[in-house]
Symmetry: C2
């Protein structure tokens, strides 16, 4: 596959990623034993979007109080549910994202517990937090982070007596890298076809819900807008009928992200509408992927990873077809503001 | 002013709106006395957006647990913090918004307490909830709802021993209709100038934060997209630098909503960036409005109302300049999906 080193992927995500299981459990077990009031999942751009699935999963499966907050806003708003008894979780590939580092420092100064997943070792975020999982490689770091966050979040739920299946679940986390690889191989030609078809498309609507809302938001903003300079609007499936639908016409590109959680009927409703109106409907459905070895009951959770990985295939083909490097920026980290 | 009956506005918002103070306090006082676990603010489209300011205000000023949830998603997700001890608050102008009515029924069936603000009497939402404030008139109902929600939310905070200034605050709520009228009069010519300048603009970025994020989201989706069929992306000021900024060029319309809460520096950062890049920057700043009689410390809260009211002036001029009625729909309530 274009720009995808399968052996490296399996090495980084499967072998090295899973190696952190013991470290993660030691951290979470210690916190659960000591007690905490709530979880704060904090990030900016792609890394707050990455937290939204876990916020949704906790809200719908756990009585643990959780808040996903945008780092820069969190630092000024004086969040009244935040205290020294909060556990604050961050991720950053580079370990240098300005607001994330500042937010971690803010939380630590106020006595809260801070945990980070960071790809690059010896970076500001890695050094500032109480507990850091340093994955070591920038490549495939989002796939690795997603996998590690499953372990973090479900371990908290396990200690809250809400997830007796933790042991089985973690065994299946170990199967996830292969399931992802299967899925991207299966989707690859569709990703290329999408990029060819839409290389000159100037605007996309991306619609998602539930635990895929974060991916919907992130792909529109951080990939299409930031990395390809294509206008894109992310719309929650439950909100689609309260405004944005009026803009759909025969040639509007509408991309639906279908997952397998409780919100699937909300996306199906948008699908029924969109297929009547536009000829440019793309449906990306995790049900199309086999996920070998994954239990039926856990598929909905792993859909987050699978969805993100297949979307990422579209990115590399858009880059190629549009001759627009994913790393090109007009402004970000190019100027002061 | 075009399509603005000042006498009617003052009658509906000032006289009749304030008349509900006693009823609101009786409801909230009763619930506070009985006890509750948390507040759920539930809506769809414009009415979930209307709840976001109050969610922000509670998060930043109160230890009361609050959740703003999209109605259709809330009903399928099995929100684990929701219980019979929750207080659920809804608004609907028509009293018929499908998902909102269904969500109120869902909450009531599960034993939670339901409160609604509804404009139209004898409608499904009005009849289903435990406590309904029926304002009686569709005209200016958003302005009225905002005003009544201040009383509801701050009364809860007052009972939580977090808002000893409640009496003074409520006196100032009574001054808000006049402050709004002043603001819309002051802004009216700017609203018209905006509509003339942008009658053919096909895309706007709207940026806001803190207690103005709801208005940002709502104006982009429910007014520009739904009622004017103009593409618009709402972007949180703290997220602007993680993607959408890359699309700003010399002729990109960027609309900044500046309020007066703790997040103002986030918007100012976007402003510093945008004024270097685009010639089509519009800044709508509540600090430009006098708000006679409003205390300095309360201005930040009332900025939500003021901002929404002045934005609404843009709507009527867009309608006129673009010869596109605000009521025109291609699809909403025109077809089944």
């Amino acid at each position: 596959m274009l720009k995808f080193d399968e052996a490296l992927f399996l090495k980084l995500v499967e072998e090295e990623g899973l190696a952190f299981r013991g470290q993660i459990e030691a951290i979470v077990d210690g916190l659960a034993k000591r007690g905490y009031s709530n979880l704060f999942l904090i990030g900016a751009g792609g890394t707050i979007a990455m937290m939204y699935p876990y916020e949704y999963i906790l809200k719908s499966s756990s009585s643990i109080e959780v808040h996903a907050e945008i780092a820069a806003e969190f630092m000024v708003m004086n969040h009244r549910r935040f205290s020294k008894d909060s556990v604050c979780i961050f991720t950053s590939v580079s370990g240098t994202t300005q607001e994330t580092v500042a937010a971690a420092a803010y939380c630590k100064e106020r006595g809260a517990t801070t945990i980070a997943l960071v790809a690059e070792p010896n970076t500001p975020l890695a050094e500032i937090v109480d507990h850091c999982i340093t994955t070591g490689y920038e490549k495939h770091s989002f796939d690795t982070f997603f996998m590690l966050l499953y372990m973090v979040i479900f371990r908290f739920m396990h200690h809250n007596n809400e997830f007796p299946e933790y042991e089985q679940f973690t065994k299946e986390v170990a199967l996830l890298p292969r399931a992802i690889l299967d899925a991207v191989q299966a989707f690859d030609s569709q990703a290329e076809a999408f990029a060819i078809r839409h290389k000159d498309t100037g605007y996309h609507m991306m619609v998602g819900a539930g635990n895929l809302w974060g991916n919907t938001y992130s792909y529109a903003m951080c990939i299409l807008e930031e990395m390809q300079w294509i206008h894109a609007k992310s719309i929650h499936a439950a909100e689609f009928f309260h405004g944005t639908l009026e803009l759909v016409v025969e040639d509007t590109s509408v991309i639906l992200l279908k997952g397998e959680d409780e919100t699937r009927p909300l996306i199906e409703r948008v699908e029924r509408f969109a297929e009547k109106i536009t000829k440019q409907l793309t449906v990306i459905d995790t049900k199309d992927f086999a996920m070998p070895g994954i239990s039926e009951t856990f598929r909905k959770h792993f859909a987050v990873s699978i969805n993100w990985a297949v979307l990422s295939r579209i990115s590399v083909y858009l880059e190629q077809e549009r001759n627009h490097p994913l790393t090109l920026r007009r402004y970000y980290r190019q100027m002061e503001y």
